[in-house]
Symmetry: C2
Subunit: 537 residues, 2 copies
Amino acid sequence: MASSAPSSSNDAPDPTPPNLRPTTYDSWCGVAHGCTKKIGLKICDLLPSKNGEEQTMQFLLEVVDILLNYVRKTFDRSTKVLDFHHPHQLLEGMEGFNLELSDNPESLEQILVDCRDTLKYGVRTGHPRFFNQLSTGLDIIGLAGEWLTSTANTNMFTYEIAPVFVLMEQITLRKMREIIGWSNKDGDGIFSPGGAISNMYSIMAARYKYFPEVKTKGMAAVPKLVLFTSEHSHYSIKKAGAALGFGTDNVVLIKCNERGKIIPADLEAKILEAKEKGYVPLFVNATAGTTVYGAFDPIQEIADICEKYNLWLHVDAAWGGGLLMSRKHRHKLNGIERANSVTWNPHKMMGVLLQCSAILVREKGILQGCNQMCAGYLFQPDKQYDVSYDTGDKAIQCGRHVDIFKFWLMWKAKGTVGFENQINKCLELAEYLYTKIKNREEFEMVFEGEPEHTNVCFWYIPPSLRGMPDSDERREKLHRVAPKIKALMMESGTTMVGYQPQGDKVNFFRMVISNPAATKSDIDFLIEEIERLGQDL
Amino acid sequence: MASSAPSSSNDAPDPTPPNLRPTTYDSWCGVAHGCTKKIGLKICDLLPSKNGEEQTMQFLLEVVDILLNYVRKTFDRSTKVLDFHHPHQLLEGMEGFNLELSDNPESLEQILVDCRDTLKYGVRTGHPRFFNQLSTGLDIIGLAGEWLTSTANTNMFTYEIAPVFVLMEQITLRKMREIIGWSNKDGDGIFSPGGAISNMYSIMAARYKYFPEVKTKGMAAVPKLVLFTSEHSHYSIKKAGAALGFGTDNVVLIKCNERGKIIPADLEAKILEAKEKGYVPLFVNATAGTTVYGAFDPIQEIADICEKYNLWLHVDAAWGGGLLMSRKHRHKLNGIERANSVTWNPHKMMGVLLQCSAILVREKGILQGCNQMCAGYLFQPDKQYDVSYDTGDKAIQCGRHVDIFKFWLMWKAKGTVGFENQINKCLELAEYLYTKIKNREEFEMVFEGEPEHTNVCFWYIPPSLRGMPDSDERREKLHRVAPKIKALMMESGTTMVGYQPQGDKVNFFRMVISNPAATKSDIDFLIEEIERLGQDL
């Protein structure tokens, strides 16, 4: 902090204005103040110290100044997406930036440097050329909302200490259920720490619906239950199967067609197969927007099968749920209104800051029944307000971060139409990219046809591989192209896009667009950059 | 925003300086701009709009202004802790504050009003007189850290997109393991969304250690496993037992003594009982700082029993872990170094903002083994950096919020000694409160003896009940005292403290102190306020 610059002499008159002078020793944190003049202001000069108000405001404004600069640069295409360093480099310590923790306090001046350096060596996920994850962008309203959430620093478990946020969550979840198309006003839901946990909730809800005795007696008390999900679905279904005691062997993977969509006939065949073995099919996960291909499973046909065999239908729309906001694209999720539960992550396609994921359940009471333990010390029935607003007994968490406010505020600021336009625009950009590269010899599409979501999957074919017929050798070489380009891309810091293999397909790039700041010129840049970095491969 | 005040005439020359005028239509969000002059600036005037930079900075500074005012008031004892309203009141809409979401966007001016109102009708959890939860206070450095975290808006799952945060997590977890006293450098851990999930991790780790086949085959493939925890322990152990497929019947509650500590003999008896029934004891949870009494289970004796029967020992130090930072108080957790896993929530006693909870495991590799699914699209082995730094495959989450930075930054600013002093001070205040009320006729202590943690549990005895001998009638009346006082307290908004029944004890107040801003005068105030509100009962 400028006003707290070290003074070279302890005897010289203090040039600092009185209101910025370190206060005398204050008992709240007890750090000795003898050396403050030498090393600048310390945490004990801030609130709750008696005279800490002004210094607190000044300190926070200096932090905000750093953050605003970062925001500015995030949207500035002339800045890099990242300044890459290897773990050992950062661990050894960059100049003036030491990650190790010590017994003694740092000055506030150093704290500000630490803040600057933390951002400096990080990755600008809001940069218009960051295409690496499903969650990108830096929504300004969402950012303001998250700053407020931190400042309010409360917990979602009771209305008592989060009255406004609890109601915002209730209203937003109801709105989301309406958009899904559930006419029943009595649905339920909760915001959870990410799509994997939301998917876990869906399996718990299904199990409780059909076998409520599991809650008290455990999995040993029920027949062998089987879960179904596609081979392209998110790994969190399997992960939840392992955690919840089903076992991954009992998470049956359904085959997908060349576009990554579930083949309903294979689902039905595998359900019958499980039944023949004496297992009990419980739950089917349909994905609306797979992670790699962006594929939408045929929900109507899957719902027919679930109805026929009386299975719980979950739709993992973590990535694709945003398309429900678009009159143009929501048909891709037709049938979602027949689901028993839906995962929908506003922190992906809707650009809400991390994290913000909802699990929505059509039938009220299941989450509560499944998870409530009625802890007397938290959920007292004799409070003076209507305790049905308390959310804690629905959750597998106790304390729960306020994930709703940023989302609610963005919805207020954009309106439903704002989200619709933002999402339509991202899909148009994906279409632009697809059209641009589909017929060029430098690129090969991983699957045929227009993308349904913003995922565009492609191989870059370097000069040395062009025209070479398919062979093990070519595939091996091609497998190494994307990692090489990605490494060069990260070293140069100009843009970021993900790659991965899938099934028998060797490493390919998966482009996704969820950042409303991206434009056609950024797509052009990405393509040119891949060509530039790959030209000698 | 002052500069975007509505203009009464569309034809009058625009008095707004050019750089604050709404920009022309920008395609990124697509909201029509025809009416901006009437209703002020909109979200489309912010970044990523072409000329949005200045307005973005101005908007964010206006938000910060609101937040700084809130921070100021939080520490000001002349402001209320809360301005209580019932759910139906807030739902009907307060003047100018409507929680409902709409199709159309609001002006930025209204967004600022929404921010102000959200804080206005919330609860000041950082107020020096808020004693309602284990998590209280508003640490300024932590707040700055959380603002930065929101701005960086990234995800902990890979080093690729969170290099600095991933390393900070690693370093901080190692430091915490050292403080626990694990000499083995090869331990592990992860920050999770709250103590309940951390406790869930511990049970998963124990199960994987002894019965790794559960991961693939499910709970049906193993003998009936039993978990042990005390009747005073946190309900999340039972909740996890239900979720993970053990069943709550197989979570055996161990009796506690009058101070709320596990009776080791009862633990051993119940282990033997389970074995006799043919069940397999797996896991014992010892609590270091129970939620209500703040009791510390005798870890050494429990560890002896766990060693004898080869059981996993978990210590739930969510609340008490902070005391490890204090040379004066850490003896209360003696034996914790013998645990296989530890839950420790810096967001409780260490005053870190919500949320920040660590699960620490003594043996490396278990979290990874237990949870990894090796999703090729996220954890590519052919990245250019050392992918052992990626954390995603250890987690049950996929995306994971950055909970580490605020904690790391606070540690930097306070040093270990700063935390120590802060914690010692809170414990001194609890001692002060205990000494003050223990011999007064208006109060009755729930358990004898000095508090071990900052929990002080007491009944307020209103004039009408003083001197009345114990009877059902008196107990019934006393049961209604705390809820009545709490209701009046919330209506008046002056302070907040929790109450609950416990076992056969009727409703009593549970005072907890974790806010370094609290002083003796705040304790005095609480006592006077309870007396004032309860004098006519």
